[in-house]
Amino acid sequence: MYQRKDLLGLKELTADEISLILDTAVPMKEIIQRDIKKVPTLRGKSMVTLFYEPSTRTKTSFEMAGKYLSADTSSLTVSASSVVKGESLIDTGRTIEVMGTNVIVIRHQAAGAPHLLAKNVKARVINAGDGMHEHPTQGLLDLFTMREKKGDLGNLTVAILGDIMHSRVARSNIWGLTKFGAKVHVVGPSTLIPKEIKQMGVKVFHSVEEAVKNVDVINVLRVQRERQKKGLIPSLKEYAKVFGLDKKRASLAKPDALIMHPGPMNRGVEIMPDVYECEQSVVDEQVTNGVAVRMAVLYLLMGGKGVYEATN
């Protein structure tokens, strides 16, 4: 049973809770594949996406998930510039809540913002990515994809390649995978891997070749141009040369290894065209699975007699 009010991160979930979400996502995926992609489950429930960071993918994915389950969805995008002078997060959250919202999906550039919101509203809160902290639904969809393709997560070795330091996707993946006993390799430039990441139970590499050798999955992260300006990498060109995933490097993994990427991709930087177009690439399926996993999360948070109703 999923008994939490919110979904803020994978760190605090048990393997059983994660399994329940993944199990629930299986029938949800079947709905997406139907001609009539709609079930009445969340009729009369409402969901608001509150995005402080631009994101077309995650926001659309949540909105589709809500609509497939018949929830009413609205969105509120707040530009970063208005945060400072504008309304506080708590006030914005309360305003959305008193409009009758059951669940708030929040994306924010500041780590912990969803926690602040969750403490101050009765509505359910789903973290759709907070700073460098967590992106739990991305982690869940990655786990779902790996489980669907490879079976028991405990038997897998997964290499996460790229800007580990700034990646909430990496953190959510690491928490999720290690809870099931999977082996996790992280690989990237030493300036983009915090030393202490080892304490999360992963193995650190600075050579892509060594890191991906015989792994079941390579999850490639996006590298941002601003890392160059901050002096963390000399140039995207050098990054591509040393850490970009090309066919030769990818071939060191198991022959049927999955190639994953949370998107959007910097083609030719962290991943080369011949890799993301290859048969092992499951990048498109990740997107579909994202909707299924988010439907599962919405169902589990809103399907039962929620805290919101109980306390009103």
Partner: protein
């Protein structure tokens, strides 16, 4: 604290088998054969019942009917009143329902709410020609205008009673019992 006390066994293995054989014959008879016919069992105990009906129909008619599995959780009308979200399982209808005659199969017909949900669920998969309902036990107390086309046994019950269908595939034994709740 509520207790459940077994009151009576109303069907044993043989009675269940006979009822299903009769229903299978009725289905074939009513539909004048097996053309365009498909069976869909409602999770959980409707599923083995649908599979058995398909087997019996194959024995008597030689035709293999498609069998689907329907999970109606997402269509329940009581989701907002339940304290816990029920687990969702997969709907597995690997054939098109469009223009088919669907025989929906479940173990017990009671308020009719499960069947209502199942009808919505099937229609979301496509537009069948017609939907019929096959039930092992009809215990009355309908809350919706729904009736079964094929009934294994009609059992008058009080609302305090519970009908439990136990099937080999799921429960390891084969019987239908009436239980009564006592305070």
């Amino acid at each position: 604290m509520k207790n459940l006390v077994a009151k009576a066994t109303i069907m044993d293995e043989e009675k269940i088998r006979r009822a299903l054989v009769r229903i299978a014959h009725e289905i074939v008879e009513k539909n004048k054969g097996t053309d365009n016919l498909a069976l869909i069992g409602i999770r959980r105990r409707g599923v083995p019942l649908a599979e058995r009906l398909a087997r019996i129909i194959k024995e008597i008619e030689g035709a293999t009917l498609p069998v689907g599995i329907l999970d109606i959780t997402l269509y329940r009308d009581d989701l907002t009143t339940l304290a816990q979200q029920p687990e969702v399982h997969k709907t597995e209808v690997n054939f098109s329902v469009i223009n088919k005659t669907i025989v929906l199969v479940d173990d017990v017909l009671y308020t009719g709410r499960t069947v209502r949900a199942a009808l919505d669920a099937i229609i979301d998969l496509g537009r069948p020609k017609s939907i019929q309902l096959a039930i092992l036990v009809d215990r009355g107390h309908r809350e919706l205008p729904i009736r079964a086309d094929y009934v294994g046994k009609n059992v008058p019950t009080s609302k305090r009673e519970i009908i439990e269908v136990r099937l080999k595939e799921i429960d390891g034994k084969e019987e239908v019992v009436i239980l009564e709740t006592t305070e």
